[in-house]
């Protein structure tokens, strides 16, 4: 069974058609990149899949459950879904430690007392911080973290509970080259060990070629899809991007399953 099924999806935002008749499926434990120029509708597509913005037509199924028109999903399905945003712009406002934040990732959706879960919750947080190399950061405030540390903490927030589908919206944005490599290396390891299915919005076509199984090229409609080596050929890219915005020719690198650690 596909983890995510999207069929005939149409999204209108602020009166503008952002996504038109998009259909695709994500197989279990696959790593799929969503690429396209700015304004192509990538964030709208991700928002509609997560149930954050309404869709005008089409179907979204996650783990076989239909996403309701207002983004409703059964709680046990929602708990298996994780989202990693570009940044947490308001992180400086909250006096929130890394351990407290990751603990909220363990809590299932719905009302519950903050101390319920006790030992199991503490143990899960400890384990998630260890898996992501964030153990020494446990008592640090979110506002005290560097960009790379924050991304690792966000991954800890996702890994603190078993998930099936992880959606990343330009997660590497704002990171320097070594931090980007470290982030993707950690993501690769976690995907393998946790059995995650990944859908990631990305502008980094080199990274997509090296680490993703499948690519979806979006420019309002799905322009191409398939293995990165085929879908990201020069001819396909010229169809997808405006010539002025076309990324430079890809660096030739040996195919690899795992990005280098910088």
């Amino acid at each position: 069974m596909a983890v995510l099924e999207v069929e005939g999806l149409r999204v209108v935002r602020d009166g503008v058609l952002a996504v038109d008749d998009v259909s695709f499926q994500l197989a279990a434990e696959s790593d799929t990149a969503l690429v396209g120029p700015n304004g192509a509708g990538k964030s709208s597509l991700v928002g509609a899949i997560l149930g954050l913005i309404p869709r005008q037509a089409g179907e979204v199924r996650i783990l076989g459950h239909r996403l309701g028109p207002a983004g409703q999903l059964p709680a046990q399905v929602r708990a298996q879904l994780a989202f990693l945003p570009q940044a947490l712009p308001l992180q400086g406002r909250l006096p929130l430690t890394v351990a407290e934040f990751v603990g909220f990732g363990w809590d299932p959706p719905g009302p519950r007392l903050p101390w319920s879960g006790g030992g199991a919750r503490r143990s899960a947080v400890h384990s998630a911080l260890a898996k992501t190399g964030c153990g020494p950061l446990a008592e640090r405030l979110l506002s005290e973290l560097s960009g790379g540390q924050l991304k690792r903490v966000l991954l800890a927030f996702c890994v603190v509970r078993p998930r099936r589908l992880l959606v990343l919206d330009e997660a590497q944005a704002g990171l320097d080259a070594p931090s980007t490599e470290q982030f993707h290396s950690l993501l690769f390891d976690l995907r393998r060990s946790e059995g995650w299915t990944v859908l990631q919005v990305s502008h980094d076509l080199d990274m997509v070629r090296r680490s993703c199984d499948q690519v979806l090229c979006l420019n309002r409609q799905l322009r191409c899809s398939g293995h990165p080596e085929l879908a990201l050929s020069r001819a396909q890219l010229e169809r997808l991007y405006d010539p002025a915005d076309l990324p430079s020719h890809p660096r030739r690198q040996a195919p690899m399953g795992r990005p280098r650690i910088g």
Partner: protein, 285 residues
Amino acid sequence: MTEFSPFSAVIGQPFMQRALVGGLLTGALGGLLGSFAVLRQLSFFSDALGHSALLGISLGILLGLNPTLVLIPFAVLFALLVNLLVQRSQLPTDALLNIVYSTSLAFAVVALSLVTTYKGGIQQLLFGDILGISWLDLALIAVLLMAAVAYLLVSLRAQVLVTLHADLAGAFGVGSQWHRIAFILLLAVVVAVSIKAVGVLLISAFVVIPACASRLVSRRFGTYLVLSSVIGGGCAVLGLLGSGLTNLPSGPCVVIVQFFGFLLALLWSLRGRPQRLRAKPAVTS
């Protein structure tokens, strides 16, 4: 013959005992809600709500209705309308709220000037009358405090995620819009109920100052919430005792104590800052 100290004379008065309990509850309630209001940049919103409360009271008096009964539905309706306006308009929020609260104040003063039968003074509305608080008022504030504590406790994860990142919250199953509106409504009811004790002009201090003081010294979210309530309640009790001993106005005394509490927190938070600054590398051209 038994001699009473000025302190025992102050706390021996039944109205003062009610005021102390009322101050403790109102201060703790303001501190608790303020801890989220400040993080969500709703400080100015609570100020606008306070000013609108004066309009609600004025309309109640003008229509011959009990102002306290009019105030809660008025504040709730007003909060919903302002929230809608802020969400739909493309104008900056602070500018919109400025328009709303100054206009409310203008309408309220005009409405009060039309009333000839109102016995309460404008001073009482502006600065509150915590010494005149009744047992019924206390019961209402206590129930509200319990409801606020219960709601914020069971929805703590949702409140934190909504404050941090609306899309992150939504993706993890939190109804951001629902929680945002529920919090604004709770804030509106708290402001409406506290106005009698605290006054229109000082209500936002009860919401903002304890939370800011707590934010400066807290390194955990749980500590921040509890400390904000403790500072709110503690400063209210100290301010009221000071007011009773010096015969100065009670509401302003509480706010002055809150301000000194904030200064202490600020000084505490600045400890060690010069060392950190010195540790930074020198700027070179």
